[in-house]
Every structure is written in structure tokens, then in C-alpha cells.
Amino acid sequence: MSRHLAWFFFAMVMLAVSAPLQALNYEVGGCKTGSGYVNFTTISAAVAGVPAGATIQICPGVYPEQVTITQPLTLKGIGFNNANRAMITINPNGSLAPNVTSSINGLPFYAQVLVQNINPAGPVSIIGITVDGSGDNAGCSAETLAGIFYASGTSGTVNEVTARNQVNGGCGWGIWVENGAASSQTITIENSSVHNQGNGGIGNFGIGSGGISAVSIVPPTLSAAIRGNFLSSTGGEAGLGVAGNDAILSETNGEISGNVITSNPQFATSIYACCDSVVVSGNTVANNTAGFGIEIYSGMTAQGNKLSNVGYSIVAHSDTATTIKSNTIKNTLCGLSFGGASSGTISGNTLNDSFYGFANWGGPPIGGNSLYNVDNVMSTTSDCP
């Protein structure tokens, strides 16, 4: 009995010692002080020093560092003294060497915030932080620059983040998430502001540059929810992409919904989505006059999107059925292009002010859509010229 009592007291002492540690607040930057806070001077020191599952508050300020996160935690920007931007930037005195290789395309990346090898397993959440890529001009031959990179086997949420200025001579992405592992992962990217990526470069072996990319092996082991984000001036191949490049047969599951994507320069694609179970819905795409609005593949759905002032509005790369319904398209060169498909659900779409309505359709006449001010209802060539 007395031995049991001794164990009991030992356990109580351990609990008493450990409990305050668990309840502590973790902070970077020095704006929150006092007995309840553990302070760090850099984000890198904090993410390595806190217990798994902790929340780290980041004070407003500029943090010129490359951050690698290897345990589950939450990184959260906070406001203080009339300022509200905690910004991770390129360290002008640091190495610009790549710190991760994509498991999907094998290319070297310089990730400003790298989420990798999480142990113990658990989600990493990033909220209210700015990641600014100005200053990394190593170029496409050296690396692709990514503001935030979730590597294989990781999961979590990116929410209300700003990712900007990942240019790097035309090879830059705001947010890149991937899974090359066999076990399934879920990553959500939402409500974020993503802009000024790549500046229109088409380099890096076809991967190019863009705002958000989510890629996976085949069959897909990544479920990516990309919703409520605002992207602008995201150059290169895809403003917002699920699967960066069809040539490497990357796939993922998930949704692309409620995003606002505008002002894509060059020959960009605003939403490039592959594969079967991705649903592209409720997005607004505008001002991509030389590029594609939405690209989808076999079996996918594009529904309830609004597109205007776009070159090719919705392009289905498919000789099998897709579902394209209830989209509204205005002021475009080419409304809907079907990749030679002869069946599918093509209904309830409204086109107004288009040079070509439909193109590359192999089936019977398309009904059930509303067309106004369309110069050529069906393109007489194999696709919109």
C-alpha cells in the first residue's frame, strides 16, 4: 500500500510539473510577455522548441528566416500595437539552396515555410501569417520557390494567410502541397490572399509558376480543399491548380470552390484541375484574356462558376463525359470547349458575349443552355482557334 501511495504521489508531482508546461503560451517576437508566456526570438526556434500540438503566436514584425516544421502545431499571427502583419521573408544573408525535393516531379524547391516529416503525426495549421518571397532570384535552373510547402505525408490547414512575391525568375508558387506517400492525407487551403507569383514565367520543365498547387501520386492520396481564396497576378501555367502538369500524371481529390481569381498575366490558366473527383464550383474568374479560365478532365464537374473577360472560359480536356452546368460566362473568346467529347452533362450554362459558344463537341446538338450575343454558336474548326 505504501508503495502504491508513493507511486500515486510521484504521479501527482509529475502532473503538477508538466501541467503548467502544457498550458503555457508560446510567442515569437516579444509583444506578449509575462509569466504565462514562453518567448522565442525566431519562428524556427519556436517550432523546434514547443511541445507537439502547441499554438505559437507570432507578433507583428519581419522574420527573415527559412522555417521547417516537423511536429504538429499551429502557427498564428497576432495583432499588437496597431500592427497586424507577421511576415516571413527571405533571409538576405542566408543560403538560397533548395531545402526539399518534390516527391511528385522530383524538382528542387526552396520552401520558405516547409512542413515535412511530422512526428508525432498530426496536423500543422498556419493562420494569419504573410510569407513574402521577395529576394529569392536564384532562377528556374536552381530551384522553384514556394512560400508554403506541405511535403508528402503531412496534413493541416492554411487559413487567412498571405503568400506573395514568389517570383524567382518565373518559377514561384505561393502555396504548394503534395502527397507522394501511400497513406491518404487531407490539406485545406482557405481564405488566403495569394498574389504576384512567377510573373508569367513558363519555365521549370512545364511546372511553371502559380498561386496554389496541390499534387499527388496516382491513385490520389491527397484530398485538397482549396476554397475561399483570392488570387491575382499569379503567372505561369496555373493560377490555381490541382495537379500541376498532366504530363506527370499527378492527381488529387478534393474541391476548388468559392475562390476569386483575377488578373492572370500571360497565358495562364486560372483553375487547372485534374482529376476524377475534383469539383470546381462557385469560383469567380476574371481578367485572363490570353489564357484559360477553368481546365478540367474526364469525369470532373465544373458548376456554378462565374467567368468574365477570359480567353477560353471552360476547357474540358476529355474525350469522355464531364459535367459542366450552371456556369455563367461573359465577354470571352471561347465559351465551352469539350475536347472531342460526345456525351456529358452540359446544361444550365449561360453564355453572353462570346465569339465562340461551343467547340470540339462530338455529340448531338447541345440544348438546355442559354446563349446571348454569341458570334458563332459552334466553332466550325476542331476547337476555338
Binding site: 494569419g128 490572399s193 468574365s308
Partner: protein, 375 residues
Amino acid sequence: MKHTRSISKHWVLFLSAVALIVAASPAQAANYEVGTCIASLPKFPTIQLAVNSVPPGSTILVCPATYSEQVTISRPLTLRGLSSSNQDRPVIAAPPNGLAINVTSITGANVAAQVLVQNVAPPGNVNLTGITVDGSRAEVSGCSVSAFLAGIFYASGTSGTINEMTTRNQQLPSCGYGIWIENGAGPNQSITVENNSVHDVTWEGIFAISNQTPSTLAATIKGNFVTGKDYNQTKDIEVNGVSGALTGNVVTGGLQGITNDGGPVTISGNVVADISIGVAIAFGDGSTVTSNKISNVYTAFLLGGSGVSPGPTVTGNTTKNTTYVVMYNCIPNVTVKSNTFNDSEFGFDHVPTANSGLGVNSIYNIDTVQTSTCP
């Protein structure tokens, strides 16, 4: 007997009414055609000849082609574009010899309207659907701050709906309007402008104005896609002194996205983007600004008005990638709460020291939350 006689009289009246309806229907509801794409309909070679000739209430179907004419509509009718032989765009273009000034606005400005709706008799709606009004190569003598070009103009006392039209290329320097609606008359009028594509205009995309107090123009402006020109000072949508709602529009480019100079107007569910040197939504007294999405603009909200209480409200909006979120201009009693603002250099500029109305908002990534004080 009395009962029988009564029924019989009712029968006579009923049969007379039926006979009148039958007789009137062909004229009232008949379709007429401009062009020659439908063999069975009465045909007119020009839109102007058709609108001058058909009975009030008629529907005029316009075959795909280019009609180089300036059209004035002065009776209630529907003008609707048709699809034929893989073509689906009737275009009203400027006549080769240019456009004539054909209306004076309640603002005092002289306007050359490509499609003018004016002095409609008998009273009734004029509805336009599925036609492109193109201002390319339009010449307006004296185009300046007092003479304007407008694609579509609804003058005082008129009503109706402008739906799924395209207006484009009204781009004479400093004087091109896509759609202009107004009411300076006493009786109330309602005009709906919906689902239109408006682009390549130099001055204003959609403009609605009433000079009556209280307003006699109820304007519903919804579901339009308006693209302004960056290198001109385009106001994409502006309402002045009207009542109504501006909802679900997609507005990009230009100098100012949505403007309410004053009047009981709800501005909700719009997307406003890509206004690099201007303002997404500017508004004065009477405005309710809610659930709009704004990104990639210099200033998201520019407050105007008198400071009267209660003032305008700004709730449930989302902004990203701005330089300023709210320019208060020291105007009190403007409620700004329950919005989400992310990614701005400055948050709230010139917030009044008393009765600011600034409530709790969700703020992320703003360099300086409040800037510049008021006296």
C-alpha cells in the same frame, strides 16, 4: 326570370370580352422580325422601322446581323436578339455618318444614345434582351464633359428591363457610357439592369440617377459583369439618388468599382477586383454594404455622406490584397463590423474620434491597423 336575364347579360359581356381578347391578341402579342431569319413573321429591314411600326406590347425578334443605326423606342415593347444558322449576335452599331445628340439628361448633359428609350406612350415597359450595342467607330460631335455617348439610355419616365445585353466599345475619350438610366419625373419608375456584359467603356459602365427627393427611380442592378479600362477613369457602376439594390455583379478594372453617391441602396454579394489605383466600393448616406468580396484594389471602401445617424453599414464583407481597407474620411456613424480583412498595408484611415462606428472585425496581415487621425 330576373336571375336568368342577369346571367344572360353576363354571358353577353363575357362573350364580348372574349371576342375582344381574341381580336386583340394577335396584335398585342405578335412577334415581328428584323431581318429575314424566320420565314413566318412580318419583317422589317431596320430596328428603327420595326419599333416605329409594331403595336404597343409587341415582341420584336432581331436576327443576327449588324444594324448600323441609332434607335429610339417610344412605345412599350420587347426587343430580343435571335439565334439563327449558328449565329447569335445581333449588333447595333454606330451609323457610318456618326451619332446625333438625341437626348438631354436630367444632369443637363447632351447625350448621343445608340438605343434611346424615351417618351414611351402608352406607358409600359421597354425590355431589351440578347443584343449587342457596339460603340466602335462612333463619332459624337463635341464629345466632352457636356456631351456623352451612351450605348443604352432610358430617359425620364421610362421603365423596363435590360437583360443579357452586351454593351461595348463606348470609348470615346472621357465620354463613353455603357448603360444610362434616369428619372427626373415625379411618378416612380422601376428599371432592372441584369446579367449584362459591359466592357470597354471609357467613362461609366452602368449609371443610374434620379434628381427627385425622395427618389423616383428604383434601380435593380444585378448579375452584371462590368470590366472597366484601367488607363481611363472608368466608374464601373454608379448610382446617384436612386433606391434599389446592386447585387451579384462582377466588377473589375477601372478607377472605381461600385459607387453610391447617396440614396437607400443595398450593395451586396458583388465581387470587385483589379482596381489598382482606385476604389472598390464608394458610398454615401443610405448605403447598406454587405457580403461583398473585394481583392486586388487600392482602397476597398471609401466613405462619403453627411455623417448623419444612423449612417451606412458595412458588414460581412471580405477584402484581400488592398492598400487601404476603409477610408473613413473622418465621417462618423458609419458602422463597420463583422467583416474579414486580410492583406492590406493600411486598415482604417482617418477614423473619426467620436462615433466612428468601427466595431469588431477579423483582421489578418495588416501592416498598420489605423492610420491618420481626425481633428
